[in-house]
Amino acid sequence: MDHISPVLWQFLVKWMEHFALFPPEASKIAPQMDALFFFMVLVSLIGLTVVVLLIISFSILYSKKRHPVAVQIEGSTLLEATWTIIPLGLFLIMFVWGSLIYFRVYTPPANAMNIYVVGKQWMWKAEHPGGQHEINALHIPTGRPIQLTLISQDVFHSFSIPAFRVKREAIPGRYTSVWFEATQVGTYHLFCTQYCGTNHSAMIGDIVVMTPDDYRKWLAESTSGMSLAQNGERLFASLSCNACHNGRPDARGPSLANVYGSNLTLANGQTTHVDEAYLRDAILNPSDHVTQGYTPIMPTYQGQISEDGVISLVEYIKTLNSNYRVEQTLNTTALLPDSEGKATSAGQKPAAEPSAKQGMVKQ
């Protein structure tokens, strides 16, 4: 130890501590993916060894010195078949195995807890259903399937958690989703893995996995008071959605009670399943999504509402399971401090122009 400068030694120690060759396995799918990965590594090693051995052994056995006269060989159909079928077989195994994992990762279970993630240059915003907001971090409990619904506010980003072996692109204009179940408490890397401009390398964060108890405590500490659905209810009223979607029989817009999860018949005769993506699209591109029996008069809210606002509205709509609930929203409008008298009782038709300036509430 006396021969090595203390500075150099510290440096070396620091390096070794940070030296990692393999990411931690912190989700349920991680070991499954790693199993396939190691199978592939094994097959690759064997394949490479075969090729290298062939080259080296032939080079030695048939070098010019040892084997001065070459023997002209046309080929061998048997060999061709062998090295076609065996690689093909191995590749097909990897195809099937990999596809199974892929479908598993991108098919969230029905009981998954949904967390919304909005990516924008150059940060990640996560929104828990109870209204907790995080920037560049995600607190989650172990032992529970968690679905992330992602969207970008500007360019392509990609939400990547190497320790969980999952990533998903966040695209402007529509939702994408991925799910996982964390198995190991700890803090793991969050990266943006789609080049998105200047601070792409800075769009990183922490995934904090906690025990369910700790997670509950964290939720309680970081709540902003309003859950996403409550915020959505507020927006629903302040944007005058309830002027048409008020649940009354003579309403100009369809009732939104129980619409989430239903199979809706559209004006063009097609049926569609109503999920988050449909709701978002219906808010931003209403003319493409007219319910049967109604006319395309809904104004678009494109440009008047941010992705966070849309998420809140979607969450609110998901909670609507009766017309009574919708009508309750009508009444809560009157309690809004900045109400400009937008909510109406039956009979009064508010000015709902396509370029309505009301409700410029950006969340």
Partner: protein, 250 residues
Amino acid sequence: MSDSTVTVTGAHAEHEHPPYQRHHFASMEQQVDTTSFAMWLFLLTEIMFFGGLFTAYLIFRNWYYPAFVEASHQLSIKEGTANTAVLIVSSFTMAMGVWCAETRRRGALVLCLCLTFILGLVFLGIKYDEYHEKYEKHHVPGLHYSLKSFTDPASDPEVHNAYPDDKPLMPDMARHTEIYFGLYFAMTGMHALHMIIGISILAFMIFRARAGAYTTGHVTFVNNFGLYWHFVDIIWIFLYPLLYLISRHA
């Protein structure tokens, strides 16, 4: 086909072949065959080139049909049909030109090429008129694009009277018309660019034809250019119904 094996003196005297045969070809037949094949292959690349635009167009037309219908009604069917007729006739005059070259009718060849040239210019003239109208009506994406004709059809009496059934579109559907016009200008613009290139080559060919370059039995240039011209025509024949004829019933 060719009997004009020219015997020359001087540096060229060692081998006998027509002056227009390139040295790396073994025979005129090979040269003609090769250059013809090359032109067909080039046209195949052009199909792939336009194919990307057609793909994008078909996808968006499927998604935003109402907007595309109303945007298409903004195009003048008279001018579009006229242009189609102009191009088909120009293809005919071009084919006649090739026949003239093959039968060594120099004067007739020049006439055919001139007619094709003029018809090409007529096409471009009509196109200019259409583009100008789009510009006036603020239907050029990026240049103060206006949705008014689609959100309020009554403000556009010319089109509204022709298509009274076209309902006013909500802004979020109406803004998709900008994609229609973007693709319209991209596709017809790319086509027009190919026309301009063709017309320029025609101008060059008219001069050479007058000098008799194509009536000596060496018709490859005219032939291959004819292929190009017909191809540009065929592209238009696809563009016309796709762009102009969406939901136009009597």
